[in-house]
C-alpha cells in the first residue's frame, strides 16, 4: 500500500476508471432514485421533486407494510433453512477426504453456471402438480407403500392425491432456499476450514459426544461465519422477486415484486424509489447488527469470517 501512495500517478491511472464507473453507474443513479422518492408524478414520464414525504407515508400503509413484514418473514425463513441445511453440508465438506473437497465445492457452485431464470423455471418442472418430479416421486413412494400394506392384508391406501404445492408460499420458499443455499454454504465452509481440529478433539477427549461437541464448540467458534452466511443469504433473499413471480400464487408477492411493478407496469418511480430505500435501510440495519454481534466474538478469539 505504501508504494501506491508514493506513486500517485499510477494510483490515479488505475483507480480512476473504476471510480468513474461506480460514480456514473451506481452512485448517481441511486442518488437520482433517492431524489425521486421525494417527488411527485406529474405526467407519464415527468417527475417533480417537491420534497414530499407522501411516498414514504404510502409505503407505511397497511397493504405495503403487510407485504414488507411477509418479505422479512420469507427472507428470514429462507436464511434459517439455508443455515440449518448449509451448516452440516459445510461441516461435511470440511472433514471430507482432501481429494474429494474440490469436487464437493464444485457441486456447491455448479448452480451458478446456470442462469437464475432457468433454474427457477426448472423448479416449476419439479413442483408442478401434473408430471412434476416431486409428485412423481411421491406417487412412487405412495404406490410402494400401497403395495406393502396390500401384502399385509391391510386396507388399500386409495388413489394418490398429488400435492398442489406450486404457486404457493411454500413453493416460493423452496425456490428461494434452492437459489440461496450456496451463498450460505461458502462462508460457513471458509470458517469451518480454518477451525483448529484440536478444539474438536479436545472436546471429545474430555468426554463429550459428537453432538455436544458440535453445538458447544463448533457452532460458537463458527459464530462469525454464521453471521456472514446470514447476511449474505438474508439480503438477496429480501430482494428476490423472481421466485414469487414464477413459483408463487397471486398472494405470494413480496416487496421486491411491488417495487418492480412501480418501475415497470405502474410507472410510479417516486413510490418505487421510496420502497427501494426503505428496503436498503433494513439491509443496513442487518449489516450493522452483524458487525455488532460479531465484535465480541472476535475479542473472544473465535475465527474471523
Amino acid at each position: 500500500m505504501e508504494s501506491w501512495r508514493r506513486s500517485p500517478k499510477t494510483f490515479l491511472a488505475l483507480g480512476l476508471p473504476p471510480t468513474a464507473w461506480l460514480l456514473l453507474f451506481f452512485l448517481i443513479p441511486i442518488g437520482i432514485v433517492w431524489a425521486f422518492s421525494f417527488g411527485e408524478k406529474v405526467g407519464i414520464v415527468d417527475i417533480d421533486i417537491t420534497g414530499t414525504f407522501a411516498n414514504y407515508d404510502r409505503a407505511f400503509e397497511a397493504v405495503y407494510l403487510q407485504i414488507m413484514v411477509k418479505s422479512l418473514i420469507m427472507a428470514g425463513l429462507t436464511t434459517l433453512v439455508c443455515i440449518a441445511v448449509g451448516f452440516p453440508v459445510a461441516f461435511l465438506i470440511t472433514f471430507a477426504p482432501a481429494r474429494w473437497k474440490p469436487w464437493l465445492l464444485l457441486l456447491i457452485i455448479l448452480p451458478f453456471w446456470t442462469n437464475l431464470l432457468i433454474r427457477t423455471y426448472a423448479m416449476i418442472a419439479v413442483l408442478r402438480t401434473n408430471n412434476g418430479f416431486l409428485n412423481m416421486g411421491l406417487e412412487a413412494i405412495w404406490d410402494a407403500a400401497d403395495a406393502v400394506t396390500g401384502l399385509f392384508g391391510l386396507a388399500a391406501l386409495g388413489a394418490f392425491q398429488p400435492w398442489d404445492i406450486l404457486y404457493s408460499d411454500a413453493a416460493v420458499l423452496i425456490g428461494m432456499v434452492y437459489v440461496f443455499l450456496p451463498f450460505a454454504v461458502l462462508p460457513l465452509y471458509s470458517t469451518l476450514e480454518r477451525l483448529d481440529t484440536n478444539f474438536l478433539e479436545a472436546s471429545l477427549d474430555l468426554g463429550a459426544g459428537h453432538l455436544k461437541t458440535f453445538f458447544s464448540i463448533v457452532v460458537p467458534l463458527a459464530g462469525p461465519g454464521i453471521a456472514s452466511a446470514v447476511i449474505i443469504t438474508f439480503i438477496p433473499a429480501l430482494g428476490s422477486f423472481l421466485q414469487p413471480d414464477l413459483l408463487g400464487g397471486t398472494d405470494s408477492q413480496l416487496i421486491a415484486n411491488v417495487i418492480e411493478r412501480q418501475f415497470l407496469s405502474a410507472n410510479d418511480w417516486p413510490f418505487g424509489g421510496a420502497l427501494s430505500f426503505l428496503l436498503m435501510y433494513i439491509t443496513f440495519i442487518a449489516i450493522a447488527a452483524r458487525a455488532f454481534l460479531t465484535r465480541p466474538n472476535e475479542r473472544r478469539g473465535s475465527l474471523p469470517a
Binding site: 478433539e201 474430555l206 455436544k212 460458537p220 473472544r300
Partner: protein, 362 residues
C-alpha cells in the same frame, strides 16, 4: 494377565494411506503412577503413538490395553485418559472456569460438585482467581495450566501430554518442568509425555522410550540411557558423544580387546556378545586433559585444540588428534578466573578410563 501396567502397548503399528508406516510394532508398558516420556527426533511417530493411546487414531495392527481392558478401538470420549494438546486447545469462547468445568459437565457430575472441583484444580495449577478470565487474557504459560487443569479435573487414569512445554520460553519451560513433576507427585496420575527435547525427558521422566522412525530403540531410566546407551542412535541422540570406529579382536574374560581407528588396541570391560564391527564411544565429560602425558590412564591420546565453546557452566574443547579424529571434551568451570584453561592451538594430552568406554553395535 494382571500386572501393574496401566497402559500396555502390544505390537502396535500405524500405517497411513500411501503405505507409510509411522509406528512400527511398538511394545511397551507404562507402570501405574509412572512419569513416562516418549523421546525422539521430529517425525519419528511420537505424536501418532500418543494419539493412538488417546483414541484419535486407530492402530493398523496390535493392541492398546488400558488398565487391563483392550481399548484399541474405544472412541476417545470413552477412554479413562485425557490429553494436553501441544496447541493447548483451550476453548476461546469459554472462561477458564467453564473450560475446566466442561469435562465434568459432559460427564454429568452434579452441579454442586463441579464448583469445588474446579476451584481445587485451579489451586493445584496455581490459577486461583483466574476463573472468570477468557483465554485471550492469559499468557501462554497460563493457558497451558488451563489445559492441564481441564484434563486433571477429570481424574483420568493416564494423562497424555504432547510437547506441552515447546511453546514456552526457556526460563518458563524449566520452571514448568519442575512444576509438572510436582503436580504428578501430588495427583499420582500416570503421565505420558511426548518430547523431542532430551533434557526435558531426562529431567522429568522415570523412564524414557527413545524412538526412531516409528521404532523404540531403547527403553530405560534416564541414567541408564545416558550412561549405557544400547546403540549408536541413542548414544548420539542423547547428550554429546565421541565416536570411533572399531573392530573386536578377541575376548579376554570379561573384557574385549578392540582395535580402534586412530586409537590403537584397547581393552574394554564388556560382558555381552557383540558384533565384530562396532562403535567405540566416550562422553565428553569423562575425558580429562593434561599438559604432559599422564602416567597411568588406560586410554591416552594427543591432539591440538582447534576450537573452544564457552557454555557458561562448562567449557567445550574441540581436539584434533594426530590421526585426524575429532574429540569434544567438556570441562566444568569450577573457578571464576578460568586460569589454566586450554587455549586454541595448544597441544594437549587427553585420557579416559576404559570403564567409561562404551561399545555400540548398529
Amino acid at each position: 494377565m494382571s500386572d501393574d501396567a496401566i497402559v500396555r502397548i502390544e505390537g502396535v503399528t500405524k500405517t497411513f494411506a500411501g503405505n507409510v508406516t509411522v509406528v512400527d510394532r511398538v511394545d511397551l508398558r507404562v507402570g501405574r503412577g509412572e512419569f513416562f516420556a516418549l523421546l525422539g527426533p521430529s517425525g519419528c511417530g511420537k505424536t501418532t503413538l500418543l494419539r493412538m493411546i488417546a483414541g484419535f487414531e486407530l492402530p493398523t495392527d496390535g493392541r492398546i490395553v488400558i488398565d487391563g481392558e483392550d481399548m484399541s478401538t474405544t472412541p476417545p470420549n470413552q477412554r479413562p485418559i485425557n490429553m494436553v494438546f501441544q496447541s493447548y486447545a483451550v476453548f476461546p469462547h469459554m472462561t477458564v472456569a467453564k473450560n475446566v468445568a466442561y469435562g465434568l459437565k459432559v460427564e454429568g457430575v452434579a452441579e454442586a460438585e463441579i464448583g469445588p472441583r474446579v476451584e481445587e484444580v485451579l489451586n493445584l495449577v496455581k490459577l486461583k482467581g483466574y476463573g472468570a478470565r477468557l483465554p485471550n487474557q492469559l499468557s501462554g504459560g497460563q493457558r497451558q495450566r488451563v489445559a492441564l487443569a481441564r484434563a486433571l479435573v477429570k481424574r483420568p487414569k493416564v494423562l497424555l501430554l504432547d510437547e506441552p512445554l515447546s511453546a514456552l520460553d526457556a526460563k518458563l519451560r524449566e520452571a514448568m518442568q519442575l512444576e509438572l513433576v510436582r503436580l504428578q507427585h501430588a495427583v499420582g496420575i500416570t503421565f505420558i509425555i511426548v518430547t523431542h527435547d532430551q533434557k526435558e525427558a531426562l529431567s522429568m521422566a522415570d523412564r524414557i522410550a527413545v524412538m526412531e522412525s516409528g521404532k523404540i530403540r531403547q527403553l530405560d531410566t534416564p541414567e541408564r540411557l545416558y550412561e549405557y546407551p544400547s546403540n549408536r542412535f541413542v548414544a548420539d541422540f542423547i547428550g554429546k558423544m565421541n565416536l570411533f570406529e572399531g573392530k573386536v579382536v578377541t575376548r579376554e574374560g570379561a573384557r574385549l580387546l578392540v582395535d580402534v581407528t586412530g586409537l590403537g588396541r584397547i581393552s574394554v570391560p564388556h560382558e555381552d556378545d557383540i558384533a565384530v564391527s562396532i562403535g567405540v564411544a566416550v562422553r565428553p565429560e569423562k575425558i580429562s586433559l593434561y599438559r604432559a602425558r599422564p602416567a597411568d590412564s588406560a586410554i591416552t591420546l594427543q591432539g591440538i585444540v582447534t576450537n573452544l565453546a564457552y557454555l557458561g557452566e562448562s567449557l567445550q574443547i574441540f581436539l584434533e588428534t594426530e590421526s585426524g579424529n575429532q574429540l569434544i571434551i567438556s570441562q566444568t568451570n569450577v573457578s571464576r578466573s578460568g586460569s589454566g584453561a586450554p587455549r586454541k592451538g595448544e597441544n594437549l594430552w587427553c585420557s579416559w578410563q576404559a570403564a567409561d568406554t562404551l561399545l555400540l553395535q548398529d
